[in-house]
Symmetry: D2
Subunit: 343 residues, 4 copies
Amino acid sequence: MIVILSSGATKENLQHITRMLEERGYAVHVSEGVERTIVGAVGVPADPTQKAAVMEQFEALPYVDRVVPVSKPYKVVNKQFHPDPTVINVRGIKIGDPTSVVMMAGPCTVETEEQLMESARAVKAAGAHILRGGAYKPSTSPYSFHGHGEAALKMLAAAREELGMPIITEVMDVRDVELVCEYADILQIGTRNMANFNLLREVGKTQTPVMLKRGMAATIEEWLQAAEYIASQGNKNVMLCERGIRTFETYTRNTFDINAVAAVKELSHLPIIADPSHATGKASLVNAVSRAALAAGADGLIIEVHPNPEKALKDGAQSLLPEAFVKLMHDLAPIAGAVGRRL
Amino acid sequence: MIVILSSGATKENLQHITRMLEERGYAVHVSEGVERTIVGAVGVPADPTQKAAVMEQFEALPYVDRVVPVSKPYKVVNKQFHPDPTVINVRGIKIGDPTSVVMMAGPCTVETEEQLMESARAVKAAGAHILRGGAYKPSTSPYSFHGHGEAALKMLAAAREELGMPIITEVMDVRDVELVCEYADILQIGTRNMANFNLLREVGKTQTPVMLKRGMAATIEEWLQAAEYIASQGNKNVMLCERGIRTFETYTRNTFDINAVAAVKELSHLPIIADPSHATGKASLVNAVSRAALAAGADGLIIEVHPNPEKALKDGAQSLLPEAFVKLMHDLAPIAGAVGRRL
Amino acid sequence: MIVILSSGATKENLQHITRMLEERGYAVHVSEGVERTIVGAVGVPADPTQKAAVMEQFEALPYVDRVVPVSKPYKVVNKQFHPDPTVINVRGIKIGDPTSVVMMAGPCTVETEEQLMESARAVKAAGAHILRGGAYKPSTSPYSFHGHGEAALKMLAAAREELGMPIITEVMDVRDVELVCEYADILQIGTRNMANFNLLREVGKTQTPVMLKRGMAATIEEWLQAAEYIASQGNKNVMLCERGIRTFETYTRNTFDINAVAAVKELSHLPIIADPSHATGKASLVNAVSRAALAAGADGLIIEVHPNPEKALKDGAQSLLPEAFVKLMHDLAPIAGAVGRRL
Amino acid sequence: MIVILSSGATKENLQHITRMLEERGYAVHVSEGVERTIVGAVGVPADPTQKAAVMEQFEALPYVDRVVPVSKPYKVVNKQFHPDPTVINVRGIKIGDPTSVVMMAGPCTVETEEQLMESARAVKAAGAHILRGGAYKPSTSPYSFHGHGEAALKMLAAAREELGMPIITEVMDVRDVELVCEYADILQIGTRNMANFNLLREVGKTQTPVMLKRGMAATIEEWLQAAEYIASQGNKNVMLCERGIRTFETYTRNTFDINAVAAVKELSHLPIIADPSHATGKASLVNAVSRAALAAGADGLIIEVHPNPEKALKDGAQSLLPEAFVKLMHDLAPIAGAVGRRL
C-alpha cells in the first residue's frame, strides 16, 4: 500500500501515519518530495481481514490525498501464484485446455420437453459439447415467466441421458444449490448474482464446476475477486464468462468487452467462456462476435439456440435458429484452427 | 407495443406479424409509410406473463427493425395509478411526508457495543431520527470482515431501546429475512442485491418497511421494476434509495444521479432517500451532496457517521465524524425550509 | 511518480529503471517489499514537456506493473496554488462571488429578432443577469439548422443594448474567435469542443471570459486540464460548466454530476456554473436540478427559455416557458439564501 | 416519427398534435388504445432541416410521453440505400475490399527522422501497407509535446518516397486541412474531433480519403452521422475507425467495442478499421484484440509501433516493438485466411 500525503501535510501528520501503519503491522518507507510526501507500507497487516478497511482508514485522514494498493486483491485465482492454466474436466470434456475449444448451446429457458429436445438434438448434431438451458430465470419484471424449476432440471437430465451431453444451468438462490447440484454438471452464476456473496460461498462449498458470469457493471478486478470467493471455499473448478458490460451504447443490449478476454488470460489461470448472445442481444451479430472471442483466446462459447425464436418465452431476439448455429460452427472451425485449437 | 418493420419488409411479412399479434390477443393498427411500415399493437396479451417475451419474439423476426414498448413495465409503484405520495410510518416517524424530512445515520458496520452506542448517541443528539448500522456486510473481498450477524442485530435493538430510535439494517440472504425482521424496523436491500429477485420476493412477503437501494448499473426503470417485485407480493411499504451509479468518473466512488431523485418523483409515489456517503465515497463531499439531494426533493438522507473513521472496519473514507454530522444537520435545516419541509 | 514493479522484476530491472529515472532528472527512493518493489520518483523531469510521456515510457517496460502519478496535472487552475476563489467581472456582474449567484437564461438558438427579444425581455423581467443565445450551433445531423452566425450575433448585441444584459454565446471554430469576441461578453466552449485544444488555445489568447463546458465523457481531471489550456495562455477569466455526463441511463438526456460541482470547489478556484437544461433534457426536471445545483454550491445557472418550445428550432423538449422560468427564480431564491447567497 | 401520448392526454391534445404534424407536412395515423394513444407521422417534414427539431418540439408538449424516430438519421452512408461495400483505393491499396485486409502501422508521433525511418522500415519489412505517424498531436495536458507540424509532414513524405508506402496522419484544425492534404494520403480525424462538425465539413470538401475515429462517448448512430457530415459534402472516401469507448473499466485505457465492428457492417457500406493500440492502452493486449477485430470482419488495423517505446514521446505503453509487430503479422495471417481474406 502507498499513502500519498496532501501537499499541506505536516511532520506530525507523517509521524501519526507512520505510527498507525506500524501498529497495524507494516514496515514503512518514507519518500519526501518538494511538494508531497509518499509513504510506502510494505508487508501485510497483522489482521489480514482488515486489509481493505485499513486503506479506507487512511483515506479518511484529512491530510491524505490518496491510498494506492500495490498487490492484487485475489490470490487463489491469480496467475502469478499458479501460472499453469486450470483445465476443468466435465464428464470427459476439458474446459480451459489450450488445444481445444468448448461449445455450450441450447435454449435460454427450458420451456417444454419437445422444445428442449429439439434444441438439444440440433446443437448436438452441429457439434456442441454441452447443453445449456434455464430452469430458474431471473426476469426484470415480476410478472414474467421465471422458469419451471425442478421440472426443468429433470428434463435437462433426461436430455443428458439421451444425448450424452453434460448440462449447464443457472442457480439463483442459496436454498436451491443442493438441488441444482443433483442435476447440473456445471452451475451457472448469472450476471445479477456475481456479487451475491453468500451464493458464491455456497457454490464454493460444493465440488460442482461453476461458470461465473461477469456482473454487468463489474470491473475485471471485482470479477476475479468474486471468483476468489468461490475458490477460497475450496471449489477451484471455476470458469469465468464474459457476457458484455453496460455502457452508453444502446444499439446492442450490452457491450462485449473483448479486451477483458485477453486481460483475464494475463491475470488469471481460470478458463474464460464468451457469451455473445447476451453481449449483443441481436442474433445477427452473434456469429461475428463469436469469431472474435475465439480469436482473442476464449476457451469456449455459450450460445442461445431456439428452434422457434418467434415463440421463445425469453431472449427470442438473440437466439439463433438451429441452421444459424450450424453455420456458426462451420465459421468457427477455421478460427479455432488459426489459434491452434480444434473445435 | 409498436413494431417498426425493416425497409425491405413485404406484404406477407406484414400479414404474418398481424396474425402473430392477433393470436397473442392484441388489436392491430397499421401505418404504411413510403419507406417503412409501423404496426401498433393495442391492448394486453392474452397471457400477461409473456409481455416481455412477446416483444423479444418480434425482435427475433428478420424483417423487424425495432419493437418499442408503450406502457411502463410497473403498475403498483406507478404514480399514474396512485397519484398520492406513499407515506410510511415507522414507529411514528413518517417517511415520504411532504412537510418533513427524515434523517438516518450511524456507522457503516456495527463493530462493538461502544462504537455503536457512541455513534448512536451522537447522531441522536444531533437530531437524527433513525439509526443505521450493518450486521451483515457485503464485501468485495472474501477475506474482509462480513459483519457480526445476529450479535450486531441485538446491539442495534439495545440501542433502539436506550435511545428510542428505530433501526435500519441490511438483509443480504433469503435465509436471514425472518431473523432480521425480528429486529429491524426497516430492511435495507443493498445495491448488489437490487436484482436478487428471490430476496425481493421474500421481503415482499413481510410487512416490514423496505429501503431498496438502486443497483449501481440499474436504470431508473429497472429500479422501479425491482420495487414492483416487492410491492406486488403485498408489501407496499417500499422506499427507494439513490446511492450513486457507476460511470467513467474515478474521482468519486460513484456518480450521484440527482436527476433520478427528481425523475422518481414524477414516475412513482414511493418515497426516495439519498445516500451521499456511498454516492461520493469521500467525507469531504457529503455535506454538499446532502444539501443538493434535499433541495431536489429527496424525502430523507442516510449518512454514515463513525466516532473514529481512522479505525473503522469499513467505509472509513466516507464516514463523517460526529462533529461533521452536527454541522451537516445545521446546514440542512435552511435547505429543508427552502423546499417547505422541516428537518 | 511512483513505479510499481511486477512481482518477477529482477535486480537488473530495478537498476535499469533507476538509471532511466535519474537520466530524466528525478531523485529515486526504493522500497523493497516481500512480493514487490516500489520506486518513488521525486522532483520534476529535466524536460517538463515530457512528464506524461515519461509515465507511459515506464508503463511500456514489461517488468513494470503500474505507474501512479503523484501531483495533479494542472497548476494555474489548481486551488492548492491559488486558494482564493476567482471572481470574474462581466460588465459589473460578478461570477464566482461567494455571496451571490448569477443566472444566465435565454433561448438555445437565436431564431428571429422577435423570438430573441421576447425571450430576453421575459428572462430579464424574471431577474436573469446574462442573456444566452446560440449563433453557431453544433448539430449531430448535417441536415439540421446550424445557426444564423453573425446575423445572430448582431441580434444578441441589439438585445444587450436594449436590456443592458451581457451576452454569452458559443464559439465553435478557431476562425470565428475574433468575430465572436467583437460581440460576446462571455465565450462558451461547448461540450463537443472541450478537447478541441487549438480552440482552447485561441480563446486563451483573448481576454474575453470563457465558460468551458465539461466534455460529455470527460473526467473532472481532464476538464480541469482543458481549463488549464486556456488559463496557461494568459486568459484567467475561465468558468467551468457542468452540463451532465453520458452514462447508461436513458430516461434523461445526460446524468447531471452533482458530485462534480462539489469536487470542483475543492480542486480549483474557478467559478462553476450548472446547466440543468442539457443535463436533464426534460423541462419537467429543470427546476429540481437547478435547486440542487445551487444547494451544492454552484456559482450560477444557465437555463434554456423559449417563448414557444413547440416551435423551437432546437432543444424544445428541455426549454422552459417564460412562466416556468419565473417560477424557477421564485423557487431558487430561498435555496440561495440557505447557502448564504442572494439571487 | 411516432408520438406516444401521456395517459392523461385529451381529445383536444390529440387534435392539436394532429394539426401540428399536418402543418409540418406529415400524414397522420392515430391508434387509440385503452390506456394510451399513439400517433404515427408518416412522410418527411416540409422543411427537412427541421426533422430533429420537430421531434424535440413534440417532446416539449406536456401531454406527450415520448417521441420515437422511425428512419435512420443518415442517408449517404446507410447500407440500405447503397448495399455494396465502399472500396477506397489509396495509391493502389484497396480499403474495404472483402478479399483483403489493410495494415497501417508506425509510431504514434513523428519524433525524429531516424525514429520515423526506423519504424517505417520495420513495419514495411513486416508487411504493413500504410505508414501512420502524427505531425499534430492532441494532448490532454497543455504542457505536453504537440507534434512537429509541417516538419513532420515532410518527414512522412520522405518516408513514402523511400518506401513506397502511402501515409496517414491526423488533422486537428480547420486551418491545417489544406496543408495536410498536400502531404497525406489519408486524413485521420481523431476521437476528440469526431463531433468537430466544421472540421468534418472541411475535410468533406476535399477528395482525400478520411479515416474517422469514433468519439470516445459516441454511439454508433452518432458516429455514422459524423461520417454523413463528411460524405454529404461530396467526399465519399470515408472509412470508420473503432478505437474503444469510455466505460467504467480502468484496467484498460478504453473498452474496444467489438460489437460495433459487426454492427457497422450491417448498418453502413463504409470500410471499418480497428485500432487496438488505443482501445487497450497496453502493448500486451494488442495482439489478441487485433486477432479479434479481423475475425469480426474489420477491413484493416492501425497499430502503433515504436523502435524504443521506453523513449517514446507519446503512447509508449501501448506501442509494439518491431519484433512484436512481426509476430502480430504472423499471427494475423491465419485469422485473415479464416474469414476469406489475405493479409
